[in-house]
């Protein structure tokens, strides 16, 4: 019974981690411009993240080490430096985008420009980390995050042609705007397969004191939770395709267009629901990425870490999230367009994937860490596939970034 509660909480939690400004923005853009045709990218990204999250959780539950620990310990400092720097940079951009997402929602709600909200948002996020415990953050944010289900409800209420939705789950070549099509596919994949998500998940397993008895829980959470998150993303995409595109809005390059998605369905409540979804999803993600920055550094250098400790018990760890949160607020304060930043950082995330995924292949097959709970053929094949995908994404991101982005 306790495990059942654990699983349902975990599923809700992973939604909090999965759905953030990146997946919302990329799904909305893709739906408006390409209808249902990019659903496959969400599906593919979700499948990949299910495997990675399951492995990250299993690694942590069995070895009591996080993925970051594993990379440093197994590959040595010199090799570790690359994923560390890449992850720090990507996380910084993603965190900035998330702070931007909350700031936009506050602008939508109040009419006061988003730049003015960046610092208060960072401050509030920092306060949560400073005073909160891991469980509080994990559960609080994720239960509030259930509001994002309004996209799924909205999608169902619009009565889409489900056959067309299913057809969209099969990859197809674009009929127009090829570069833009692929760029969006890359961004969606980047938004779904976020390194911060699986790295954070493995730290969370340690924070929640998982052991081998949690392997089943882990599998359930990874599978169901990520599917749940992916479903909401598909919901956003369907709503965008059926509302924005049918109103002639085939290009989403201004975040002011986003609330229009839900208004025809829910009226004024649609505006409120959108604003709340954006605020909560992004705020949760900002906190998690902030925490992940601290996990990365502390685990990479072997410091004492833990969100449940008081800041004075792990000063190095607390200093890292404090500094990173406020640094991440700067681009938004300077007025950098949060939507552009989001799309940019999602594409960069995709490009950085090989650095963080390649280690999975070795770590999850290392008996000293995972004992008899190592990867089977299917998991190893999945990792190899994701690595290959990651390399392709890394190679195509830059040209697409220049020519296909908005």
């Amino acid at each position: 019974m306790k495990k059942l509660l654990e699983i349902s909480l975990g599923i809700v939690t992973s939604v909090g981690g999965f759905l953030e400004v990146g997946s919302m923005a990329t799904a909305a853009q893709a739906g408006a411009t390409f209808g249902f045709r990019l659903i496959w990218a969400v599906v593919l990204g979700t499948l990949c993240i299910i495997f990675l999250v399951e492995m990250a959780g299993r690694f942590a539950a069995v070895s009591h080490h996080t993925i970051t620990d594993g990379i440093r310990e197994r590959f040595g400092f010199k090799v570790f430096l690359w994923p560390l720097l890449a992850a720090l940079l990507v996380n910084f951009l993603v965190m900035s985008a998330e702070i931007g997402g909350v700031s936009i929602s506050l602008e939508l709600a109040t009419g006061i420009g988003f730049q003015w909200w960046a610092l208060p948002v960072a401050l509030l996020a920092w306060l949560m980390l400073w005073k909160g415990t891991f469980g509080f953050i994990e559960k609080g944010v994720s239960i509030l995050g259930l509001v994002t289900l309004c996209f799924v409800v909205g999608a169902v209420m619009l009565k889409p042609d489900w056959k067309a939705v299913a057809a969209g789950a099969v990859p197809t070549l674009p009929t127009h705007d090829a570069a833009n099509y692929w760029f969006m596919a890359v961004s969606i994949l980047g938004a779904s397969i976020s390194p911060y998500l699986f790295m954070f998940y493995s730290s969370g397993a340690i924070e929640d004191k998982w052991d081998k008895s949690y392997l089943g829980v882990n599998r359930a959470i990874a599978g169901l939770g990520m599917t749940f998150g992916g479903t909401i993303s598909v919901g956003v995409l369907i709503v965008s395709a059926l509302v924005l595109a049918t109103h002639g809005i085939v290009q989403v390059d201004d975040y002011h267009q986003l609330p229009l998605m839900l208004i025809p369905i829910f009226g004024f409540w649609g505006f409120i629901l959108f604003t709340a979804s954006l605020a909560i999803a992004c705020f949760g993600a900002a906190i998690e990425v902030g925490l992940q920055q601290a996990y990365l550094v502390a685990q990479g250098f072997g410091w004492t870490w833990g969100e449940d400790l008081k800041p004075r018990e792990d000063p190095g760890f607390s200093a890292v999230y404090t500094v990173s949160l406020f640094l991440a607020a700067i681009p938004i304060m300077l007025g950098l367009d949060p939507l552009r930043l989001t799309i940019f950082s999602m594409a960069l995330t995709a490009a950085s994937l090989p650095l963080t995924v390649v280690p999975f292949l070795l770590l999850l097959n290392d008996k000293r860490y995972v004992g008899e709970h190592g990867n089977g053929v299917v998991s190893n094949a999945a990792v190899i596939f994701i690595i290959a995908l990651g390399f392709v994404l890394a190679v195509v991101t830059i040209p697409l970034q220049i020519f296909g982005g908005t």
Binding site: G111, A178, A179, N180, H256, V395, I402
Partner: protein, 164 residues
Amino acid sequence: MLFFGVGSLPVWRIRRPPIDVKGQSAGLGRTWLLLTLAISTACSASDQIDQQSRTAASAAQTVAMALDVWAAGEAPSAYTLRTLQSVGKTLADVQSQIRSAGSAEPAEQAALAAAVGQMSDAVVRAEAGLQAGRRSEVQGADEDVRAAARSLAAAYARYFAPKS
């Protein structure tokens, strides 16, 4: 999108798939090169005009939809005003991009720019009406935006019509 060129650089897109699908088996490096080459050669003035026109059309629809939901009391005025301001900026940008593009059909190009200009003007009127709380003015501007969108569509069709 170029990160540091936010808003200031022209955004180019191509209409036709630039990737030779068979080329993908030619090895990653070559595909990359092909992709880059194909994309960069596909950037022409008419592609730019095409892209800008579609941005303008989307922007006009955004304004129309935003004003509709505002009129129905389904969106707050502050949000609607911000949307108008932001779209207004986009339209001004689009207009100057279309004007500065070198094109083989100056008359059609001018017609496109003029349509976008009409849109901009209508958006400014809608802003003013919204700020003053004059519903009839907003409604009039809304109709003007729609009319401008129609003339943009017509100009677009003429620009890209097959020439004899």
